[in-house]
Amino acid sequence: MMKTHEKPVQKIVHAPAQSLAVRSAALVSRGLRDLARDSNWLVKKVFAGRASHLAISGTGQVCGITSETSKGAAHLVLYDIESTAPELALAVPKQSHACPADSPARFAWSPTSRYMAAAWEGWQLTIHLFDMHGKAFLGEFGEYKNFPKFLVWSETGKYFGVTAPAGKKVALWLWKAARHGMPISGASMSRVGAPHGIEPQSFGEGFAEEGAFLGYGRCAFSPDETSLATVAEIQGEWADDLIVIFDVPTLRKRDLLQVQGHITDLTWAPDNQQIIYCAAGQAYRLPLARMEFETLPFGAELCACHPHLPLCVCFSAWLKNSAKGRLFLVDLNDLAILDEYPAEGVVDLRWNLDGSKAYAITQDGLAYIYDPPLI
C-alpha cells in the first residue's frame, strides 16, 4: 500500500529578500535628479485636464476644484507635486450640490500641511476643515453669508483669518487655533469692519459705486504672528486698493497705506519689517518703519517670501518686449534677479516647509519646482 511520507504541509518560507540596501536610496535619487537638471527649475505635469482655485501646501500637495473625472461633476481634489501618488477626491458628507468647477472656492493649508481649510459654493455656507493626514473631513466652523475672499493661517498655525466682501459691519474674522482636537471651531475671537473713514458698500446692493470699499481680500500674517496685513479692496477699474496692517490678535488697526492699482498678492519678508506686494503687474516693497511704498525694478503678479532667507520668488505673466511670463527669484538685499525661468499661467506659488524648494502651479497641472542645490 502506498504510504506518503506524512509530514505536516509546510508553508514555504523564503529567505529574506535579497534587495539592495535602501539606505543609499536618497543619494541615488538625488543623483538621478541632478543628472536631468539643466537649471534650478524642474517642470512636471501633475495632472491632466484643468482645475481651478489651486492652492499649494508646504509639502507640495495641491488642492483644487475639477470636473475632469467623476462623471463631470465638480469636486475637490488633491494632487501631489512631489510624488506620483494618484489624485484623491475629498468629500464632505451629505453636502454635494452640483455646481461648476469655476464656482467660487477658497483654500488655506495649515503651516505644516496637516490641515486644510476650505470654502466652496458646492457646500454649506461654512468653512470646512480637513485632516490631511487621515484625508478626512473634520468639521465646519465660521458660518458666512458672503462668500469668503481669502482664508489664511498664521506662521505657526496659532491664528486663522478669513476675509469676505463687506457686509453691514464685519469683513475680517480672526480665530485662535486650539492645541488639541479640531484646531479651529466656534466663534471668532476678533472681527473688524471697514477701515475708519471708508464707507462700506453693502454686498448684494447691486453694483458698487466707484471708490467704495468692497471688503478685505488677500491677507498675510507676519512671520512673528503679531501683525496681519490685508488688502482693502476698492471698487473701480482705476481705483487704488489699500493695505491695512492690524495688530494680532486684537485686530486694532495700526497702519493704512493707499497703493497704486489693485493688489494681486502680498507677502511678508522673514524679518517682519517689510511687505512685498504686487499691484497691477508691478512689484513693490513696503517698509513698515516708513509706510511708504517703493517701486521695485521688476513686474510681478504673484510673490512669496522665503521663510528665513532674504529671498522672494515671483511670477510675472508678462515680460517687457517679449510678452512671455517668467518665474524668478529676487535677492531682497540688493534686488538682484536670480534663476529666471520661462513660465505661463501660474496661479499659485509657495515655498516648502524648510525653504529648500519653491513650488508653482498652473491651472493645466504644470508644476514648476525651484530646487536649487544650495539653499
Partner: protein
Amino acid sequence: MAPNAADLNTVKPEEQELARKREELTALETELAERELRSANLRAELSAFECRYLHFVGSCYSELDEWKAQLAERLAKEQPDNVRARQAARDARVRADESKSVAGNKAAEEPRTFEATGELKRLYRDVAKRIHPDLTADRGDRAKRQQLMMEANEAYGRGDEAKLAKILTGYECSPEAVTGDGPGAELVRVIRRTSQVRGRLSEIEAEMQELLRSDLYQLKSRVQEARENGRDVLKEMIAKVEEQIAQAKSRLIDKRGTHPLDKGA
C-alpha cells in the same frame, strides 16, 4: 533507452507519473538555477555600481551637505529669533549626518566593478541546482540551504569562485533528499517541490522587476549608456557637486553671511 513491452507491463502507473514529474522538475530546476543566476548577477552588478556611486558621488554629496549644514547653522545663529531658520539648520544637520552615514568615509581603494566569469556562472548554476532552498520540504534542510544560498550569493557578488566550489562540495544531502518510501511518497514530494520551484520562479520574476524599476538601475543604465557614447557621467556629476561645494565654502567665508544665492548661478 526506451522500455520494452515487458518493462511497460511491470511499470506501475504511479511510477510512470513519477518519471514524468521528475522530468518536469528537472527542467524547472534548470530554469530556476538560470533565473537565480540572472537575479544574482543583476544584484551583484547593482551592488558594485552602488559602491562605486557612493564612493565617488555619494562622498561629494556628503561633503556638500556638511557645508550646507554649516551655512544653515550660521544663518540660524545670525537670526536667533527666526524659528524657521533654526528648524532649517536642524534639518540640514540631520541631512548631513544621514548623507555621511550612507556615503561613509571615502575609502582609499577604488571599489571594483563587477564582471562574472563563465566559471563563476557555472559554479553558481550548479550551487543553485543542488542546494536551492526551494528544492526541499524538510525544515531543517531548508534552513541549512538558505544559509548556504546566502553565502553563495555573497560569494557570487565578490566573484569568489573558490568559495562557491567549497559550498558545492561541502553540502551534505539531507536524509530528506534521499528517495524512499516508494514511488507514491516520492511522487508527492516531487509534486510539492515542483510547486515550490514554480513559486520561487514567480518570486524571482517579481524581484527582478523591482530591481529593474529601481532608481539605482535607472542611474546605472544612464551611466552605462553615456559611457558607450564616450561620456563619463559619474565624473560629470562629481564636477557639478564640487562646484557647489566651492560655492558653499565661499559663501561661508563671505562675511555678509546672508547672501542667499550666488549671482548668476
